[in-house]
């Protein structure tokens, strides 16, 4: 009995994969049963883009915005909005409620560890973000007049922004003892990060000192990197450095501070 315990069992990898796929499938079903997540994570950003694109004149270059159009200014902000709300608001709320309800603790008593549930939820969040972003890009470029000059830079910038937001989401989940606390903390981060992304005051119109602060936030850097990619060139390495720093710092703290119960 004790010898089989120390030897890896045949087919264990396949079983772990099967468990993970089942977990992801069930979590996806649960996501589809949460209308608020679907609306704010997919519906609202897409509708927002359609409304913005339908307003006459939003496709014309504007001097005060650095020569790009209102649509091209807001497209990265809309993507950022969707990334922040799914990563920093919905993801930690789900994880904190799982911890609060003992869902994670319950999984500890099975051969599958709660890490599998965490990674399934992360994968689903990223999947939602990729799908919604694809929809936004198809609409923005195909139907309206936005253009993406450097697609590879766009993809790298988007993925770094999404990863930075998700690790911040994990950190929020880690430090929030209850789902109430997760919601409150997530809401604070949402408004601060959306402000610095330029939702209310586009970054190009911010005074220098304010844009300096914005540069240091993950949404400020992320929006700048995505905007530059749309304009056809890679953003300065500084912006990518800021995003990577957010990932490293939040990721390290989240792993250190995360509690299963």
């Amino acid at each position: 009995m004790s010898t089989t315990a120390t030897l890896p069992r045949p087919g264990q990898g396949a079983r772990t994969r099967r468990a993970w796929l089942t977990l992801t499938r069930v979590e996806l079903k649960l996501l589809l049963r949460t209308p608020a997540t679907l609306f704010w994570g997919i519906g609202f950003p897409v509708i927002g883009l359609i409304v913005l694109g339908a307003i006459p004149g939003t496709g014309k270059p504007v001097k005060s915005l650095g020569g790009i159009s209102v649509l091209e200014t807001y497209l990265p902000i809309i993507i950022t909005f969707m990334i922040i709300i799914t990563s920093v608001n919905f993801l930690p709320a789900t994880l904190a409620s799982y911890r609060e309800r003992g869902v994670l603790r319950r999984m500890f008593t099975t051969p599958v560890t709660p890490q599998a549930l965490l990674s399934a939820d992360l994968a689903l969040t990223l999947g939602t973000q990729i799908a919604t972003t694809a929809l936004i890009v198809i609409l923005g470029v195909g139907v309206f007049t936005a253009s993406i000059g450097a697609p590879l830079a766009f993809i790298v910038s988007f993925l770094l922004l999404a990863a930075a937001a998700s690790t911040l989401g994990l950190l929020v989940a880690a430090v929030s003892l209850t789902s109430k606390a997760a919601n409150a903390l997530g809401a604070v981060f949402f408004f601060v990060l959306m402000f610095f992304s330029g939702l209310w005051l586009p970054r190009a119109e911010m005074p220098d000192w304010l844009r300096g602060i914005s540069d240091a936030t993950l949404t400020g850097s992320g929006v700048q990197a995505v905007q530059n990619a749309m304009a056809g060139h890679w953003a300065s390495g500084l912006f990518f450095g800021v995003l990577v720093a957010w990932i490293v710092v939040c990721g390290t703290l989240a792993i250190r501070l995360f509690r299963w119960e």
């Binding site: 468990a19 089942t22 409620s97 869902v103 500890f108 008593t109 051969p111």
Partner: protein, 312 residues
């Protein structure tokens, strides 16, 4: 060989000693109860046995495995139902079972289990729409989905109404009949009395007795309580002189007598000689309840805890 062996288990949380010194062993195929007032250290003991917590001292062996070292193998063989182990609100019964089935090497058939636990008409019901009894039955189903050799069930019927409680009790007897060893944690005397083959009474982090339910009840002195209404005049001292009788209380023509196992015979003998008929005769044995109170009332704290447990 015992299925579960615990010896000298000790666990502290900071300055608080949750489990002081707990030892017991569970034989294959039995329902073994851990009985004790709230805060006695039952749940902590179970958490150490299932590998959720690392004990500070002591030895635990489950199916010959060490819960800490052989963590993976143990999880395949031991099904656990936690006191507050919940599920996501919107997960459906059938989905939860399929999900948990995917975690195990040799899962049971989810549909068969649903039928066995009487959840057939609830298979598409979300978790938060289930009644308390249905939630507990699902919880038991999840503990059994991996075809475990041992099932650990913690405070299974707390918060259930009496009929739901009876349903769940029936289920636990069925589980034992399929050859699964059951470790049942409870603070209900009635539950322990009905289900358990043997039980350990834990108080203040220590095992204060391990015995069969009737064996424990016997430790309360094997007292009998006799109540009756006498059909004719009878004096208290006519009964209290009997050596088998310990006390007599009389209110009008109603008598309440306590005594040893032969007290009933002796009292009836007196009544027959006097030509008196005992109407509304009631005979009660000392119950596990009495034993529990007797065992835990060695100090005021224990007594309070016992009263709290009974009030539940």
């Amino acid at each position: 060989m015992p299925v579960i062996e615990v010896s000298g288990l000790h666990k502290e949380y900071g300055p608080k000693v949750a489990v002081d010194d707990v030892s017991f062993s569970v034989e294959p195929g039995e329902i073994f109860g851990i009985l004790g007032p709230n805060g006695a250290g039952k749940t902590t003991s179970v958490e150490c046995i299932t590998g959720l917590r690392k004990p500070d001292r002591g030895r635990i062996s489950v199916l010959g495995l060490d819960p800490q070292r052989d963590h993976d193998e143990l999880r395949e063989q031991v099904g656990v139902q936690l006191q507050d182990g919940q599920l996501p609100e919107k997960i459906r019964v059938r989905e939860a079972l399929e999900l948990y089935a995917s975690f195990y090497q040799h899962p049971a058939n989810a549909d068969e289990l649903i039928t066995r636990l009487g959840l057939d008409d609830r298979r598409d019901t979300p978790f938060d729409k289930l009644s308390g009894g249905q939630k507990q039955r699902l919880s038991v189903a999840l503990a059994l989905i991996g075809t475990p050799k041992v099932a650990v069930l913690d405070e299974l019927t707390t918060g259930l109404d009496p009929s739901a409680r009876r349903e769940v009790w029936g289920l636990i007897s069925d589980i034992r009949d399929t050859g699964v060893t059951v470790l049942l944690v409870t603070h209900f005397m009635e539950e322990a009395e009905r289900l358990c083959d043997r039980l350990a009474v834990i108080d203040h982090g220590r095992v204060i007795a391990t015995d069969t339910p009737s064996g424990l009840a016997g430790r309360a002195g094997g007292e009998q309580y006799i109540r009756f209404t006498a059909s004719g005049p009878l004096e208290e001292n006519e009964l209290s002189v009997l050596s088998e009788v310990h006390s007599v209380r009389r209110e009008g023509d109603q008598f309440a007598v306590t005594g040893n196992e032969e007290a009933l015979q002796a009292v009836m003998g007196v009544l027959i000689r006097r030509g008196i008929i005992a109407r509304h005769l009631r005979l009660d044995q000392a119950s596990l309840d009495d034993a529990f109170v007797a065992l835990t009332q060695h100090d005021p704290a224990g007594r309070d805890a016992a009263n709290a447990a009974q009030a539940n």
